[in-house]
């Protein structure tokens, strides 16, 4: 088993596919990385103003409650510009955190 000595740097990369923005998150999403990631995502959303956005979580290696705050904040941010946000393929570890907050009530969660 990978004991995870390395803390993986978090990144958010946005691409546009028609009216949909795909935001691919990767690495470790914690309090340290969330602030930087938040700025990147919000900047992309406000500049490109997509009708739909997909937050692809499949490459997220770790997430704690700071990541939950990041997601809930992005739902609110997307709503401000009339954009519908969907979560894609959170890992079982990420899903456990989302379930604790009942995030399924606030956002559509899909698997690839």
């Amino acid at each position: 088993m990978n004991s995870g000595m390395r803390s993986s740097k978090a990144e958010a990369v946005s691409t546009i596919d028609g009216h949909t923005m795909i935001i691919t998150l990767s690495g470790d999403i914690d309090h340290h990385s969330a602030k930087r990631i938040r700025g990147q995502i919000d900047s992309d959303l406000f500049i490109k103003r997509p009708k739909r956005a997909v937050l692809d979580m499949s490459a997220v290696e770790f997430m704690d409650s700071a990541g939950l705050g990041l997601i809930l904040g992005r739902i609110a941010c997307a709503e401000k510009i009339g954009c519908r946000l969907t979560l894609l393929s959170p890992s079982p570890q990420v899903m456990k955190i989302l379930d604790l907050a009942g995030a399924g009530r606030f956002i559509e969660i899909k698997q690839k």
Binding site: G4, F62, S65
Partner: protein, 164 residues
Amino acid sequence: MTNTETIEKKRSGRPPENIRNEIRIELPSSSVNEGIARSVSSVFVSQLDPTFEELSDIKCAVSEAVTNAIVHGYRDKRGIVYITIKILDERTVRIEVRDKGCGIDDIKTAMQPLYTTDPEGERSGMGFTVMESFMDRLTVVSKPGSGTKVTMVKTLGNPKRTFK
């Protein structure tokens, strides 16, 4: 005044004190150390050959406790976060995360799900809920003006692979 709040999901009498191994870590209250604390905890606990889920749970609980110490204990000022991890008996992990920061006035309120003192900063207010849910026992002792100590205990499954 000292506030104490204990949430014990699996009561089994007094916690065992048969310490099989121990590590102590002192880290400056810089947010980059949240990942360092997770990594060190993960490596130390890995000697018990935990399942992926057990290790993920422990990393997440440590991350929450250390982040609380940095953000709420020291309020982003300089200080030291003290972490002690002990392996007790065969399969029990006890983790203490302590700060000498501002302390918590009302622990019961602070531990409520979705409670946050910082809604502008997009904190979810789920830190203590994560610690409580992912570990077997959570104890929070705090003295306003002096600091906070969070103690978390988890007994791992798979008793065939025990500490040597």
